[in-house]
Amino acid sequence: MKKRSIILSVSLALMIVLSSCAKLATPEDQTPATGSGEQTLLVWDQFYRDEESKVIETLNAEFEAAHPGVKIQREVKVLEDLKATVKLALASSDGPDVAQVNQGRNDMGALVEAGLLSPLNTYLEKYNWSSVFSTSVASRNSFTEDGKTFGTGNLYGVSPTAEVVGVFYNKDIFRKNGWDVPTTFEDFETLLADIKEAGITPISFGSLDGWNAIHEFSAIQHLLVSLDYINNLTYGVNNVSFDTPENVQAAQILQDWANAGYFSEGFPGIGYDDSNNLFKAGTGAMTITGSWLAPELLVDTDQEFGFFLLPPYQGKSGLAIGGVGIPFAIRKTSEKQDLAAEYLNWMISPRAAELWAEAGMLPAMALPADSKLDTANLFGDTLNAWNTINQGNAVGHYIDWATPTFYDTLVAELQKLLGGISTPANLTEAVEVDYSAYLQSMSK
């Protein structure tokens, strides 16, 4: 009796498993019958905000119009969601043909190592992409074929948008108090003290979410170090250390600012979005973050905002954190490689640049020469800043790409530093432990 019931339940379990396996195979049947010349390109992107999404919808429609018989099936995901699901999807034979893949070792690097992304070198030549983006930009989307070395080797993605971390400021507050945009770091620190004395929050900031604390620290760090150093650190080459006098100094400046009350009151308990909303509502004279905030500051507010690069430290080169947005990549097992590459080329076309600029987002590509876009506003400020660092070869990096655990380590150590329970030297030592352990594991 017992035996039979076990057999029964097992066989039923098997049936369920098998039927669910059968289901897995059906999505291909659901796609419209692909007749002669008809193709469907499955694309995953993370442009979910209204303004961004409209740009992609327009580009997709124009792509379909230019390629009769081609249909684009778009799937939009929030970045966190995309990061968590795209790896398994790219490993599957009916996954997206084109997907946005986050840069850095944990995402693009891991996918290259697993052999799931197509190298784009032949298309780089075919479409002459080197005239669209510089080698410094290409490095950010490049890995060696084994996925181990970041910044060199094959190109695996193309990025449509650009980013630069700098200072947003409230023009109304500046005007009312007769403050000017500072041109040296010394001026900037004097300005901070003046704003504080006027009873206004100098820098709207909240470190509860953690990640943006990395930007506050690294924006200062970028003013003190050389481009070679930041490249070496990020790409894990030439055995640099994190425990350097410059990094200690950057941490010291950040801690001094916190102690002087230059950040929002109670900043350790305020989230990133909340601090931005407070800034947008007119509390706080400045905030240090990326150009991606610009579209939001252009709408639904009665305040006027501007943007400038954190001014250079005396005698130093004045880098800024920056780079290009999340790139589009092609699934290695896709049967539509050429069509997918054609789509990638369209995503970084002058037309795409124009649409992104109209939406207030920095395009990674140059705008068309005949563009009549109004740049006498916040967007123009961010465009200026990007052009300044791009042409001056001063585009730095998001340092949390350096090791798989760098992000978590930096966030924890910066929160300790800002909370006053550790010193700048503690921070650089602790981060160096993480960094050197990673370099060691790589050289094995």
Binding site: L8, S9, V17, A91, N106, A110, A114, I270, Q415, G419
Partner: protein, 301 residues
């Protein structure tokens, strides 16, 4: 399990199993097999999506127990037990005895209102309390400033000393209503004669509570302990939506470490090892509580 003598003539035993089958299958496919798969994965080094899966024996487990981050997270989980389990049970006992002994107007309203946090999704709870605790515009600090307690209007979730108790107290808020309702139900079984006899003997309200109510609720207290301790040990959503483990590592819990290992550093094997250790700890604690409940029950009888 089936009582053989109660079977109708001609009815076979497998019919009973047939009724169980749907649940059994769902359990097998969605709970039991994933558990086995998790345990198997914990012996591999694997990123979760590539073909590159390497058997490394117990190396993941060795790393779990020598990882100071895991030990710190486990310690925080134990602090959560105080806030998720001990305090809610004490509050629940107090409120239940208050509400059950003498009829008060609006009893049904209070019971429902106090139970309400339990039915709200944890993510929503986390978002609400993150706003409550906001140092600039949150109601808690606004209230504190209003009554002149500016000194106490601190940055709750960002404070190295207060973040853990602050997040923990959200757990208390969620759990005590559940404990209270559980105890209220249990009190229906305690016969009034006990209380009458006790008061005739001159026992005060507190003595009655200690000697009649608490022993009478032994089974319910055990259930409350098991469910709330499990909730405290596997907490993830609340930490994810409020502090993300910060500031520093001061609210880091094992559930969050599992998420981080699996989804940000591509270490599925290590994540599975932490998950397995956590499961074993939860099982062990549940068994100990069950054991206590049983031996206690025998003494009573």
């Amino acid at each position: 399990m089936l009582n053989v003598t109660n079977r109708y003539p001609g009815e076979t035993r497998w019919k009973g199993w047939l009724y169980l089958l749907p649940t059994l299958l769902v359990y097998l496919v969605f709970t039991f097999l994933p558990i086995l798969e998790t345990i198997r994965t914990s012996f591999y080094q694997w990123d979760g999506f590539s073909q590159n899966r390497v058997w490394i024996g117990i190396a993941n487990y060795v790393e779990v127990f020598s990882d100071p981050k895991f030990l710190n997270a486990l310690r925080n989980n134990l602090v959560f037990v105080i806030f998720y389990s001990i305090i809610p049970i004490l509050i629940g006992l107090f409120l239940a005895s208050l509400l059950s002994r003498r009829p008060i107007p609006g009893f049904a309203f209070f019971r429902t209102a106090l139970f309400l946090p339990q039915v709200i999704s944890m993510v929503v709870v986390g978002v609400i309390w993150r706003w409550m605790f906001n140092p600039t515009f949150g109601p808690i600090n606004t209230l504190l400033r209003l009554v002149g307690l500016n000194k106490f209007a601190i940055s709750w979730l960002g404070d190295f000393t207060w973040a853990l108790p602050a997040v923990g107290s959200i757990g208390t808020w969620v759990q005590y209503g559940f404990c209270m309702v559980l105890f209220l139900a249990g009190m229906q079984h305690i016969q009034d004669e006990y209380y009458e006899a006790a008061s005739l003997d001159g026992a005060g309200a507190f003595q009655q509570f200690i000697h009649i109510t608490v022993p009478g609720l032994r089974a319910e207290i055990a259930v409350a302990l098991v469910t709330t301790i499990i909730a405290a040990l596997r907490v993830f959503d609340l930490v994810y939506t409020t502090t993300r483990g910060g500031p520093g590592e001061s609210t880091m819990v094992t559930g969050f470490l599992i998420y981080r290992a699996a989804f940000t550093t591509n270490r599925i094997g290590y994540a599975a090892a932490i998950a397995t250790v956590l499961t074993v700890i939860i099982l062990a604690i549940s068994l100990v509580i069950r054991r206590f409940q049983r031996t206690g029950g025998e003494e009573n009888a």
